[in-house]
């Protein structure tokens, strides 16, 4: 028999109230944990995904929209721009690598993106890392496709399989398929843990041709002749030879002083930072609410223990009559508060991670961002410690009541 056992017995004796109290702490701590993991991990993942792109050049419009639609396939792309932009940039002395993207239709919600083969041979999506092929080979002809790992996993497409895309960026109920034009899968990319895992890469010609066909489906036979006006692109990804060209090139493009083209150049990392500043503000509001939930939970510990005090006066008096010191009685009550808050905090932390873990499918489905939910941060140690301290602080009030219990009165009240 020791103090902790008494504490345990007391908690077990009022198991329903104890469980509800622990649950309320769990909710608060779980909420804070989940929000923080989501914020930290997604910011990290978003940045990771964008590191390969120094500059994105795209049609004029929202710079954030351009970034999100190009790097993460979130939201709709802005209007297309003429291929001339790509040709000019490719030949610019300051540019080391230019990769065009043209967003076409989709296959089961995975975007079919037209690009050039340099994407596979030269582009580094992370510092020093190029796309690798898991099986098959990169495409060499029109209407051949290289698909991301996620696409392969979700659709079950294998090399050699054929598929036809649906109109639009995302599929919708009743969308018609380009049944006449089928793509053939030539290769599957290794997993990159970036949004590229969710892309179907094809040649630009394939995308243009589909559109050409689409616009002339009144039965014309000149399917394969694509006019220059049809050759449009959605974005160009740029890597420069030196960072010193950054500012000038960006200004030239943005101020319409670049060979007369009408486009914008954005820095994805900057856009992401701005986005997360906004998200950060929303986050702070949610966090404040979550902290309030924890505080409410702490108050519920106080209420739960305090409410039990009246029934416990007699038992406290009995323990005192057996020789228990006032201080020990106080300690028992404080330990109870500590145990309830500690249990809630630890379980809440686990629940927060578990929630993110179970949500990760949904999150990566929405953003192509991979979040594990298993990254623990120092903050959680503070969160748990803080919650336990809070539990101790609130239990001081009933503990003082216990300390002050009039033993003789409570012993005699039974007689």
């Amino acid at each position: 028999m020791n103090t902790l056992r008494i504490v345990y017995k007391n908690i077990k004796q009022r198991s329903l109230s104890s469980m509800l109290t622990i649950l309320s702490v769990l909710l608060g701590v779980g909420l804070v944990t989940a929000i923080l993991i989501l914020k930290n991990e997604s910011e990290e993942a978003f940045n990771q995904a964008a590191t390969g792109y120094e500059i994105i050049v795209g049609p004029k419009g929202s710079s954030l929209q351009l970034t999100l639609s190009t790097v993460y396939q979130i939201g709709l792309p802005i209007q297309n721009m003429p291929i001339k932009v790509y040709d000019l940039l490719k030949n610019d002395k300051r540019v080391r690598l230019a990769i065009p993207y043209v967003f076409g239709d989709n296959y089961k919600n995975f975007r079919i993106t037209g690009t050039v083969s340099e994407l596979f041979s030269e582009f580094e999506y992370k510092k020093g890392i190029r796309y690798k092929i898991d099986e098959g080979s990169f495409f060499s002809n029109d209407f051949e496709a290289v698909i991301g790992k996620e696409v392969a996993d979700k659709t079950g497409l294998k090399t050699g399989d054929t598929f036809s895309g649906s109109h639009g960026i995302e599929s919708y109920e009743g969308a018609s398929e380009h049944s006449e034009k089928k793509f053939k899968v030539t290769g599957i990319l290794s997993r990159t843990f970036t949004p590229s895992d969710r892309i179907i890469f094809v040649s630009m010609n394939s995308v243009w041709e589909l559109h050409n066909h689409e616009n002339e489906n009144n039965g014309s036979e000149d399917h394969h002749i694509i006019s220059d006006s049809m050759k449009t692109i959605s974005a160009v990804l740029l890597k420069l030879k030196s960072p010193v060209f950054f500012d000038l090139l960006r200004r030239q493009i943005n101020e319409n002083k670049y060979e007369g083209i009408n486009a914008q150049a954005v820095l994805p990392l900057f856009e992401i930072k701005q986005l997360f500043d906004i998200i950060g503000n929303i986050n702070s509001v949610i966090l404040v609410i979550a902290y309030l939930v924890i505080f409410t939970a702490a108050v519920s510990i106080l209420v739960s223990i305090y409410n039990s005090m009246n029934e416990r006066m007699r038992e406290i008096a009995i323990m005192r009559s057996l020789g228990a010191r006032r201080f020990l009685i106080m300690k028992i009550i404080i330990f109870e508060g500590m145990f309830l808050s500690a249990a809630g905090a630890l379980l809440g932390c686990i629940a927060g991670h578990a929630a993110v873990f179970f949500l990760q499918e949904k999150i990566s489905g929405l953003s192509g961002i991979k979040i594990s939910g298993f990254v623990f941060s120092m903050f959680e140690v503070y969160l748990i410690t803080g919650t336990i301290i809070l539990g101790i602080i609130v239990s001081i009030i009933p503990a003082v009541k216990a300390y002050r219990t009039d033993v003789s009165k409570n012993l005699n009240s039974g007689t």
Partner: protein, 255 residues
């Protein structure tokens, strides 16, 4: 030279020991508990002070079993609470041997009570969340010792060795009272205080409980001080006193 001193010292201490032993043999009814000029008053709800205990002199000898009868409201429970050190008197001495517990600070009184005094109340002696055995172990916990075997033994002595793991709610009132007795004697206290221990029991159980208390106190050489307002209970004891003869407080005794 040193040798001579040593022998003298040994002889002297031997002599003293023998003297003490002889004295104790001659005077084996030494006064174990002795109370002098004990006064306690309470304030009522109208903030008026009223005296409840005023005892000029009271003592119990080693191995005595004293039953005190008195009306309810006469201050018997208060008297026992003073002796056990739960309450502190306004004035007076409560001597256990040489120790005046009225002078001890509270934490020392608590420890003294844990080690030397067993206490049995009318009802609800037990903690509901704990089994019989755990309740008895709780009685030992505050002395700073743990001896599970001894606790099982104590429960065996009150005939409950088969109910070790029963919660109070699973026991009859008589059985609960027997657990309380086991808990009160488990530390081999010098003194057992029993505050109307049979008030909630039927005749049969009342007899069992009183016999148990008497026998266990006798076997373990524990002084028993029992208070009750029931004549039949007090008449079971050879040593009987009226509380009104002990307590001379002028408080209006109710009923």
């Amino acid at each position: 030279m040193i040798k001579v001193k040593l022998i003298a010292l040994t002889a002297m201490s031997f002599f003293f020991l023998m003297k003490k032993l002889l004295l104790s043999l001659l005077n084996d009814k030494s006064e174990m508990l002795k109370i002098k000029n004990l006064k306690k008053s309470f304030t009522n709800s109208k903030k008026e002070k009223f005296s409840i205990i005023n005892i000029h002199e009271f003592s119990v000898n080693d191995c005595d079993q004293l039953a005190v009868s008195g009306e309810s409201g006469s201050g018997k429970s208060t008297f026992l609470n003073l002796i056990s050190g739960i309450l502190r008197p306004d004035e007076g001495e409560i001597l256990f041997g040489d120790t005046d517990i009225a002078k001890l600070p509270e934490s020392r009184r608590d420890l003294f009570r844990a080690r030397n005094i067993g206490y049995i109340f009318q009802t609800f002696n037990l903690l509901q969340a704990f089994t019989s055995l755990e309740n008895v172990m709780l009685g030992m916990m505050f002395t700073g010792r743990t001896d599970k075997l001894r606790c099982i033994e104590a429960l065996d002595k009150v005939g409950l060795s088969d109910r070790l793991n029963s919660k109070p709610s699973e026991l009859s009132v008589g059985e609960q009272q027997r657990v309380a007795i086991a808990r009160a004697i488990v530390n081999s206290p010098a003194l057992l205080l029993a505050d109307e221990p049979t008030a909630n029991l039927d005749k049969k159980n009342s007899g069992i409980v009183i016999d148990l208390i008497k026998n266990l106190c006798h076997e373990n050489k524990i002084i028993l001080l029992l208070v009750s307002h029931e004549k039949e209970v007090v008449e079971e004891f050879k040593l009987q006193r009226y509380f009104s003869d002990i307590n001379k407080s002028e408080v209006l005794q109710s009923n």
